[in-house]
Symmetry: C2
Subunit: 149 residues, 2 copies
DNA sequence: GCTTGACCTCAAGTTATGTTTAGGTTTTAA
DNA sequence: TTAAAACCTAAACATAACTTGAGGTCAAGC
């Protein structure tokens, strides 16, 4: 293998360094999450910056964020220069508060779980566990559920 | 519509009462999550108990539990008698503690997010965000990642 | 200079969780 | 009794996030 240019990496090198499959990198590229250019033989070449991008993608996925949303967030990064810590932090700030929300929701759910499942209240219109946004009969479909369980 | 037998419901009735589509009930049946018998004209008939089963399925889905796991949990319910509150609570106890775990993990993740994404530590082998189970280089694939980012 | 490993593209396959469509039967209500 | 509503099955479609396979090219080392 030729001594690394230090500024360009092949897809296999990136895959190994990031712990993802080559096919995943291809895939991320089709989705616009990462970029590459081609060498004379039509093979992908990457800047080192791609390593951080992929790392962030994988972390975001652990947070449960869909790829499309991750891609949208990455759009906010500057194209013209290498993103700084501050650039990345803008993104992580948003994700952290989303995570906060999710934790709060799950905690509420957990607390409601005590008792609700075993008890008789699992009705669509009454039970907090079944009624996510506390929407009280706003489907306009008229009076169904006249005889809740 | 014929006066309801009170003990058997059609698929449409169950769908309406549970707030799910008829196709979803068909689907749950193919997955063994719910059961029905057929009338003379080959149409599905359900016991009232199915209403609670579907309610529990939907709640579990809000908890993020995959259908296959929900089905496995429901297998624990008694076949010979109508499940009691105690039967259901056995299941919800398990799910509650799983939820506890998930909340803890997410909270850790959130706390690590502060700083980690923007900083330089997002390497596969060092960063807690990238190293889910704190597995330290145990792939046995030999020394890769000699030059972490 | 040739073999082998790495790479290329494009299409199809995979899993989860259903929905939609098509073509046909049953039930219900007027 | 007849038209509409509800039901039936089987297969195809949908989305996410990739992987696998087929068929062919490029690059690196002996």
């Amino acid at each position: 293998m030729v001594v690394n240019n230090k500024q360009q990496m092949s897809v296999g090198q990136v895959a190994k360094r990031c712990g993802v499959a080559v096919s995943a990198l291809h895939f991320y590229e089709t989705k616009g999450l990462i970029k590459s250019w081609r060498n004379a033989g039509n093979q992908r070449r990457y800047q080192r910056e791609v390593l951080r991008r992929v790392a962030v993608i994988k972390v975001a996925q652990r947070l449960g964020i869909p790829l499309a949303d991750i891609g949208a967030a990455l759009q906010a990064l500057p194209e013209e220069r290498t993103p700084t810590a501050a650039d990345w932090n803008k993104i992580s700030d948003i994700w952290r508060s989303e995570l906060d929300q999710r934790i709060i929701k799950l905690t509420q759910l957990r607390d409601q779980l005590d008792g609700c499942i075993g008890c008789g209240c699992l009705s669509l219109k009454m039970c907090p566990l079944r009624n996510p946004g506390d929407e009280l009969a706003e489907q306009g479909t008229g009076p169904r559920l006249l005889d809740p369980d």
